[in-house]
């Protein structure tokens, strides 16, 4: 030992010193830690194992509680591990389980250390080693140490054995082939009478069954026995977990376990077990009415319990029941509603979910009213929770439960005014969505939107901005339903709109544009006053809209100031005089003038559009307003033409666009995008042609084949050249506007995937030139899309194929672990999920021969022979040794046999089962009578 290392070890800080130093905080925590780390780095290189171990312990501490990486010490940890001293080992194992992971480079060096300790006579050393294995095992470790784990599975030290059982979970997961070795012993441990071992085994099986329940169905009789016999709550809970996974797979099993579970429900005093029983019944046995009733009775006890935990879990259980038995929730309505005002946030949210589960078409308005009132009183978080759930429930499945959309739009407006509301975006989406889908609601929507827009206070609330943008859009788009467009215009141009973000401001300006066009149109084209029915002839909304116009005059729900201005049937046009139009134009100029210099392009562009329009029309308007009647025929015509055009452009109906709309655009004939690509890849595998290559050039690939035959070098150059020319060509096309011209070859068009609305556009072009203006306007407003909607009475739903077919994969994950387990349990035959049920429904007592045949049937010819040979040899062996009979009753032969075929192979490798066999054989006679009453109803 060198002098320096001695000094190190003498004056080394212990972990306690380190902690004390940290607590004193003389130089600040971070500084102290980095100093300590420096020391540790030095000490850990010491040749003295004690010094090294202490350094490692300190490092683990810093890593664990102060989050400093310790991967640099991986090798040092291994060195400490090699120490013969238990205390060093313990430190090393602790460090390793903290810091090692699959990509630790020295991981494989640990195998022999682990093996040595697994074979140790000291149970605590074995335990340390197993613990470590359970944390860091990877494929290699699991494979190499499987034999040791296998031996330990039957260790006579309980302390070791239960840990060996637990470690199997990780070993199986990492190295599925170990199932073939260890599974049998694991199953044997299910028979163990010691509760600790049993608890560990059942725990392992509940984890395994979680991932792939079907594979463990054959073990159901064992689990059943544990369920009935166990007096240990922990074990019972785990077995219930297993059954809640297995029962839905096999109806007869469910029938079988209902009774014992109900017994447990009635008799147990432990809340945890009681809750597990309830959960099992409501999740997996919900078809059994009596069981559900019993469970619900217990749930009720939970609900009125003082303990908030029980209350919370009771509500959770109710929510599970609600999926199938809604009556249960209604029965407990009072408690649920009362829980909304509980102090506990968990309980509040849970009861909110339950309340939402009760919502249906006929009570949605009352429940929403209650909840909205509630939201106004509650704290911000819960308020938004409530609003969010109202929004999502009402919009579910295209507003399935909403009958009265006027009510719903009003509700949305009201919700957005709640002070804590942060659901602006969702409300925005729904307002627009409803506007597009439901024609009848548009007048109401415009009214709600107007109320929101006109209130200057709302502009200050940034959470509401998105709602305002929806309102602005709706009032612009459906301005024809507005009772007072001038007022709307003022609202849209009010000074406080400067508080809005630019994107929303742009929407405001665009809406102002639409409103302005509408006003001008009513004023000039219709000669200053309009008869409602005449004003509507352009609009698809047509008669219904005008009808509702009149109707809400009569109802006059809102007696606001503007209602007094409006009189008679020409209410909409009455205030629009030439003078007011002039005012309006001035207002626009005043409000938007400064925006011409806006930094935001969108705002600037739209402001320019609108001002340009104003410039265009203003002289005419002034002119005509001075000369009143005479000249309006002459020059005014041009203006009114423009106005009419604009109005037409804006009046095109918008509709929801189906998600799959693009998919409906048929591919042009002769366009073979994918084929071409595949061929290219095949032909010039290593050339990597530029992506535009094949399309734009459109050269048949025979030519390319010819190129190929030259030489690779040439190809490269050629492709580069062609690429260059391609891009030049594309550029040329763009510059000269040739891009959209039809060309001879369809491949050329395919340069760009056709946009969804292309066909309609093309059609419009052909129709008349007037529409060209409309199209350009359309491109101004990105929201305008062709209307695909099919008119339905109230809600305009998208096509049925709105939702693209979900790419679900109902196939159970057939990973290597479950297939290995199946191999062991069922034999080498891989059971497809559907056929397993038919197998299960076999009469369990049917003859063995018939079954053998049935199992072999689906197999391929060649395998059949092999299996037959196997099974015949098994039979002879069975007779001679009684080997495979073991603890299973004869009634379960089906599973047994399939298992056997595999065990045959297994036992060729492991012939050390001898001592268990004798024990099992001895037990068999005792078990058979006990189980015969149980088994026949069981599967297999």
């Amino acid at each position: 030992m060198s002098g320096s290392s001695l000094m190190d070890s003498l004056f080394q800080r212990s972990l306690e010193d380190l902690i004390k130093g940290l607590r004193q905080q003389l130089i600040g925590e971070q500084a102290f830690i980095s100093k300590a780390l420096e020391e540790i780095c030095k000490e850990i290189k010491s040749t003295d194992l004690s010094t090294k171990a202490t350094a490692l312990l300190k490092l683990s501490h810093l890593s664990n509680l102060h989050f400093h990486g310790m991967s640099f010490a991986a090798f040092h940890a291994l060195e400490v591990l090699s120490s013969p001293r238990f205390s060093h080992k313990k430190i090393a194992y602790h460090a390793i389980s903290l810091s090692f992971h699959d990509s630790t480079p020295v991981l494989l060096l640990i195998t022999n250390h682990l093996r040595k300790d697994l074979n140790s006579t000291n149970e605590f050393e074995v335990s340390l080693s197993l613990q470590c294995l359970s944390r860091i095992a990877n494929v290699d470790l699991a494979r190499d140490l499987t034999p040791e784990v296998f031996t330990l599975l039957s260790s006579n030290k309980l302390y070791v054995r239960k840990r060996a059982v637990a470690v199997v979970l990780r070993v199986f997961e990492k190295y599925p082939d170990s199932v073939r070795v260890c599974f049998k012993r694991l199953v044997e441990n299910l028979e163990n009478s010691d509760p600790q071992i049993l608890s560990a085994v059942v725990g392992v099986f509940s984890e395994l069954a979680c991932k792939d329940p079907r594979s463990y169905l054959p073990l159901a009789p064992e689990f059943y026995k544990i369920l009935v016999d166990s007096r240990n709550n922990w074990i019972s809970i785990k077995v219930l977990k297993i059954f809640s996974k297995l029962a839905p797979l096999e109806p007869r099993l469910a029938k079988r376990v209902v009774e014992p579970i109900c017994d447990l429900l009635r008799n147990t005093g432990a809340k945890s077990l009681l809750f597990e029983c309830i959960r099992t019944v409501v999740t997996s046995l919900s078809e059994y009415e009596s069981a559900v009733r019993l469970a619900v009775g217990k749930v009720r006890e939970f609900l009125v319990d003082e303990d908030p935990n029980l209350k919370y879990l009771g509500l959770q259980a109710l929510r599970i029941v609600a999926e199938k038995h809604l009556w249960v929730v209604s029965e407990n309505k009072e408690v649920v509603i009362k829980s909304l005002s509980d102090a506990d946030p968990n309980i509040k949210i849970e009861s909110l979910r339950l309340v939402m589960a009760m919502v249906s078409g006929h009570n949605v308005s009352e429940i929403s009213r209650v909840l909205v009132n509630y939201a106004m009183k509650s704290d911000p978080v819960f308020c938004n929770e409530i609003l969010g759930s109202i929004l999502s429930t009402c919009s579910r499945n295209f507003y399935e439960i909403v009958v009265d959309f006027d009510w719903y739009v009003l509700l949305l407006g009201e919700m957005s005014r709640i002070p804590h509301c942060q659901m602006g975006e969702e409300i925005e989406n729904q307002l627009i969505d409803i506007g597009l889908r439901v024609k009848d609601v548009r007048p109401e929507l415009v009214r709600v939107a107007r109320d929101l827009l006109i209130d200057p206070a709302l502009l200050g609330n940034s959470f509401l901005h998105s709602v305002l943008s929806a309102s602005a859009w709706a009032s612009g788009e459906y301005v024809e339903f507005s009772r007072n467009p001038l007022e709307l215009m003022e609202a849209l141009l009010q000074p406080r709109t400067s508080l809005l973000p630019p994107s929303i401001r742009a929407i405001y300006i665009q809406s102002a544009f639409k409103v302005l066009v509408f006003c001008l149109h009513t004023c000039f084209v219709r000669g200053g006053s309009i008869v409602p029915s005449a004003s509507m002839d352009n609009f698809p909304a047509g008669v219904s809209a005008s009808a509702s116009h009149e109707s809400f005059d009569e109802i006059s729900v809102e007696n606001s100031a503007d209602a007094t201005v409006v009189h008679g049937q020409t209410h909409a046009s009455a205030p629009i005089t030439k003078a007011s139009i002039v005012n309006l134009l001035n207002l626009v100029e005043l409000a938007l003038g400064p925006l011409l210099g806006s930094n935001d392009v969108e705002v600037q562009e739209r402001a320019r559009n609108l001002l340009g329009f104003v410039d265009l029309t203003k002289p005419e308007v002034l002119n005509s307003s001075v000369q009143e009647k005479e000249d309006s025929e002459g020059k005014g015509v041009e203006t009114s033409k423009i106005i009419k055009l604009m109005c037409d452009a804006f009046s095109k109906e918008l509709g929801p666009v189906s998600l799959s709309a693009q998919g409906k655009v048929s591919l042009p004939d002769g366009l073979m995008l994918k084929e071409n690509l595949v061929d290219l890849e095949m032909i010039c595998g290593d050339i990597k042609p530029p992506s535009s290559y094949s399309f734009s050039f459109g050269s048949p690939y025979e030519e390319e084949k010819d190129w190929l035959s030259f030489s690779n070098l040439h190809i490269k150059e050629d492709s580069e050249q062609s690429n260059e020319s391609t891009s030049l060509l594309a550029e040329h096309r763009k510059r000269h506007g040739l891009y959209y011209l039809p060309s001879g070859k369809s491949e050329l068009i395919s340069n760009d995937y056709p946009p969804a609305k292309d066909p309609t556009l093309q059609g419009d072009i052909n129709d008349n030139t007037d529409d060209l203006v409309e199209i350009t306007e359309e491109s101004l407003n990105p929201k305008r899309k062709p209307n695909h909607g099919k008119p339905r009475p109230v809600v305009k739903l998208d096509e049925v194929d709105e939702k693209p077919v979900a790419m679900k994969q109902p196939e159970p994950r057939d990973d290597s672990l479950s297939s290995a387990v199946r191999d062991v349990l069922f034999g080498s035959e891989d059971i497809p999920p559907t056929s397993s049920r038919s197998n299960l429904s076999n009469n369990p007592s049917s003859k063995r021969k018939g079954k053998e045949k049935q199992h072999t049937d689906p197999r391929v010819e060649s395998r059949e022979n092999v299996i037959d040979r196997n099974s015949s040899s098994r039979r002879s062996k069975d007779r001679s040794h009684g080997k495979e009979r073991r603890y299973r009753s004869p009634k379960k032969k089906n599973a047994e046999e399939r298992k056997n075929t595999d065990q045959k192979e297994k036992e060729k490798r492991h012939r050390d089962h001898g001592r268990h066999k004798s024990r099992q054989r001895a037990e068999e006679p005792l078990k058979v009578p006990a189980q015969t009453s149980v088994i026949p109803d069981f599967l297999l």
């Binding site: 030992m1 001695l6 003498l10 972990l15 306690e16 902690i19 607590r23 003295d48 501490h61 664990n64 509680l65 102060h66 989050f67 400093h68 001293r85 238990f86 205390s87 060093h88 313990k90 430190i91 602790h94 090692f100 992971h101 699959d102 000291n122 605590f124 613990q131 359970s134 944390r135 860091i136 302390y159 239960k162 840990r163 637990a166 470690v167 979970l169 990780r170 600790q196 608890s199 560990a200 725990g203 509940s206 984890e207 979680c210 922990w234 809970i237 977990k241 809340k271 945890s272 077990l273 809750f275 597990e276 908030p308 935990n309 919370y312 879990l313 102090a343 506990d344 946030p345 968990n346």
Partner: protein, 166 residues
């Protein structure tokens, strides 16, 4: 399966952290901070659950208990029973109490190794292997003896070698 065990004090200082799947330390710190942020905003006398899915991802549940200055937090998935885990926390704390005689935060700070040993006796690779605090105590005593014995051997040669080199 238990995913993680954490003990932290009411100031948010970590006193114990055990993750049963490997996580880089930075991620551990982030998770613990996330948990603490939720914990410290909760009132007294409310239920012991927290929605853990936002922090730990799907299929995770969290149960905690608040004792004096410490939060004991267990994170687990759907194969454990919430109330049983609450009992488990109780067992853990009881065992600590027995082991340190009236345990307080300081004991846990200085008893770093011991606390880990106790936890390892209860939970093995995410699975609960022991729920009886007296059994755990027995094992802990055995282990302490073993450690002391192996350290006693170390002291003598070390000091002897120290004399020799002087």
């Amino acid at each position: 399966m238990i995913k993680a065990v954490m003990v932290m004090n009411t100031q948010g200082k970590t006193r114990l952290a055990k993750f049963y799947e490997y996580l880089p330390v930075e991620k551990q710190q982030e998770l613990i901070r996330g948990v603490f942020a939720v914990l410290c905003s909760r009132a007294e006398n409310v239920s012991n659950f927290i929605d853990a899915e936002s922090i730990f991802g799907p299929d995770s549940r969290l149960v905690y208990k608040h004792f004096a200055t410490l939060y004991f937090v267990f994170v687990f998935d759907s194969s454990e029973n919430e109330l049983a885990v609450l009992d488990l926390i109780q067992v853990f704390v009881e065992t600590l109490d027995k082991c340190f005689q009236n345990v307080c935060e300081l004991d846990i700070v200085f008893g770093y190794s011991k606390v880990h040993t106790i936890l390892d006796e209860m939970i093995f690779g995410g699975q609960v292997v022991e729920t009886s605090s007296s059994e755990i105590m027995k094992a802990i005593e055995e282990i302490s003896k073993l450690e002391a014995a192996s350290n006693a051997i170390t002291l003598i040669p070390k000091s002897a070698s120290g004399w020799r080199s002087r």
